[in-house]
């Protein structure tokens, strides 16, 4: 065997390793989740009960699925005006200027802040501020968690749409200007329709990020195991319940937490694949 063939084989087997890694992850999660699904069946997904009392253990993932969706959608809605304005600032109004470069750098740095630091800031600064303006209880809850999540996903939502917006051909915009359109009219009738699918993909990927964020959410959501009844009530997400309850878990409880991890893995996988598919269709 000559050396070129060896090199090619090494490269090929390493990429097989990546595939095996993904398959192994799925295999292990499914394996770990089997006891929970055996015990509760599909009701595991649709049951709202989480009772760790020994002898009458009952686990259902619904409170956490609902909590995850509520915080992530909340975060998406809260981040939308901010991140979309920022994309317009960077990709349209001030494209290529020094101000835009600095703003872009700062937005990127938002992505570099560790989740736990966001959590601390949310706990010690945001939460007291919310109590101050008349937020009920101790300031914990889905809304608080969604608010900090919104800040955390801004860089992900911004970077892709900003890139796409700045790629809209100048000819198209100039044509609209020459017809007497104002800048706003160019944005609403040329830029946004042209960049639409890229913008959507960016928000889908940001949503995927929000689904799995753990530490900051754990510190702010209030950690209650019932199905959340209001946007301002407390709850738990799939990620936060794993972080919270893993320490004292074994047996059926551990298996239930792994099952929640499996569901989270599948949901984020689907969301990410959807986002990537849209991007691919655009090219």
């Amino acid at each position: 065997m000559n050396s070129d063939k060896i090199t090619k084989t090494v490269l090929f087997s390493v990429s097989i390793l990546i595939l095996m890694l993904a398959a192994g992850m799925l295999y292990s999660l499914v394996g770990g989740a089997i006891p929970a699904f055996k015990e509760f069946g599909l009701k595991f997904i649709f049951s709202g009960e989480w009772n760790p009392t020994e002898g009458e253990e009952k686990y259902g993932a619904l409170p956490f699925i609902v909590g995850t969706l509520m915080t992530s959608f909340g975060a998406l809605i809260l981040c939308l005006p901010l991140s979309f304005s920022t994309s317009l600032f960077l990709g349209e109004y001030f494209r290529g200027t020094r101000v835009a470069r600095i703003l872009g750098l700062l937005v990127d740095l938002l992505a570099g802040i560790p989740s736990i630091v966001y959590g601390l800031w949310g706990f010690y600064v945001l939460r007291p501020a919310l109590i101050e303006i008349g937020f009920g209880g101790r300031g914990f809850g889905i809304f608080t968690a969604a608010l900090i999540l919104a800040v955390m996903i801004i860089p992900y939502a911004t970077s892709l749409s900003n890139e796409i917006i700045s790629m809209v051909p100048n000819d198209l915009k100039e044509a609209a200007y020459s017809l007497g359109a104002t800048r706003l009219e160019v944005i609403t009738s040329v830029t946004i329709p042209n960049a639409r699918s890229g913008i959507v993909a960016g928000y889908i990927l940001a949503f995927g990020r929000a689904l799995g964020e753990t530490m900051a959410v754990t510190m702010l959501i209030g950690n209650t195991n019932q199905i959340p009844t209001s946007f301002f009530g407390t709850g738990n997400t799939m990620a936060s319940v794993i972080a919270n309850q893993f320490g004292e878990a074994d047996g059926l409880k551990l298996s239930s937490l792994i099952a929640i991890g499996l569901l989270l893995f599948l949901i984020t996988g689907i969301i990410n694949a959807a986002g990537k598919l849209i991007i691919k269709k655009m090219n």
Binding site: S3, D4, I6, T7, L11, V14, S15, L17, I18, L19, A22, M25, S28, L29, G32, L82, S83, S85, T86, F89, Y93, L103, L105, L106, V107, D108, L109, L110, G112, I113, P114, I116, V117, L120, W121, F123, Y124, T158, R183, L184, E185, I187, L205, R209, L211, G212, T214, M215, M219, I242, A243, F246, G261, L264, F265, T268, I271, N272, A273, K276
Partner: protein, 293 residues
């Protein structure tokens, strides 16, 4: 006359709307970046007093020592050396696992553009990048904690961090190599250089700055990770260099301090240190990337 006025009115309304939206965009953009300023200033204001040499070279105090110090109005003694060493140990180990695999996979993807296996690997790697870090913690718990080290360990922490880093390195390697002119590679091949030497002596050195940008960004992302370490490395109150034993890390210590009312004084200084390192890595990697372009 009348119609001209109506036209003017309409136009000025359009222009007004245009201006109003511009103002709105600028204001909202400034609000967007305000958290980074607020967070960093909070960390600096609350944290700088605790930062000293002792803070870097001593282990964490126990709750009682901290409580006494706070009661006497002193700074909390001790530091976070166990966390700093643990973080370094796990990041180095994670890099040692992820960098070779990631770079080689990136080269494979670059060499096999458009082929089925390469597309599959690229898609899977992209999807792995979106897997939440807590799930990676579960995986490493199932693989390493339960079957290899039979207990919480630095190795388990490193494995979860390595899986997190891997897709970023794969992607940045492929993107970097794509930008290297084909002619360079062809020139080497025309001279009869074996394939592995083309990779080691042409591709990797030429793309070095791009590769290091990807690696530094990957490291800066795993440095602050807490969730997977809760499930794998667990934490330790002393410096530990044995990769089969529970180990601390700076973010893990922040989590411990957060849960212990006596240690609150140490939260901000530890976070400040962590943030400083992460931001410096971020900026350095951006600088390298900027120079290249």
């Amino acid at each position: 006359m009348k119609s001209t006025f109506a036209w003017k009115d309409h136009t000025s309304r359009r222009l007004l709307k245009d201006k109003a939206v511009l103002v709105g965009v600028v204001v909202l953009s400034l609000i967007t970046i305000s958290p980074i300023v607020l967070i960093i200033s909070k960390l600096v204001v609350e944290g700088y007093q605790q930062i000293s040499l002792d803070f870097l070279i001593e282990n964490t105090p126990d709750t009682f020592e901290a409580m006494t110090a706070v009661a006497n109005g002193e700074n909390i003694p001790g530091g976070i050396a166990n966390g700093i060493v643990g973080t370094l140990l796990m990041v180095v180990l994670a890099s040692a696992i992820a960098i070779p695999i990631g770079v080689l996979t990136g080269i494979y993807l670059y060499e096999n553009q458009g082929k089925f296996m390469a597309n599959l690997t690229r898609n899977i790697s992209d999807i792995l990048q979106g897997v939440p870090s807590i799930v990676l913690g579960l995986i490493s718990y199932l693989w390493v904690v339960k079957h290899i080290t039979n207990g919480f360990s630095a190795l388990a922490g490193s494995v979860s961090l390595a899986i997190m880093m891997l897709p970023m390195i794969v992607r940045s390697t492929e993107e970097t190599l794509k930008m290297i002119p084909q002619t360079l590679k062809e020139a080497a091949l025309a001279l009869g250089v074996p394939y592995h030497k083309v990779i080691l002596k042409v591709l990797v050195p030429t793309g070095f700055s791009g590769l290091s940008t990807g690696i530094l960004l990957g490291i800066s992302r795993i440095l602050g990770e807490t969730a997977p370490l809760l499930l794998t490395a667990l934490g330790s109150s002393i410096i530990n260099l044995d990769i089969t034993q529970p180990t601390s890390a700076v973010p893990l210590l922040i989590w411990e301090f957060y849960n212990d009312p006596n240690m609150i004084g140490l939260i901000w200084s530890s976070s400040l240190l962590l943030m400083a390192i992460v931001l410096i890595l971020n900026i350095v990697s951006k600088q390298i990337a900027g120079k290249r372009n």
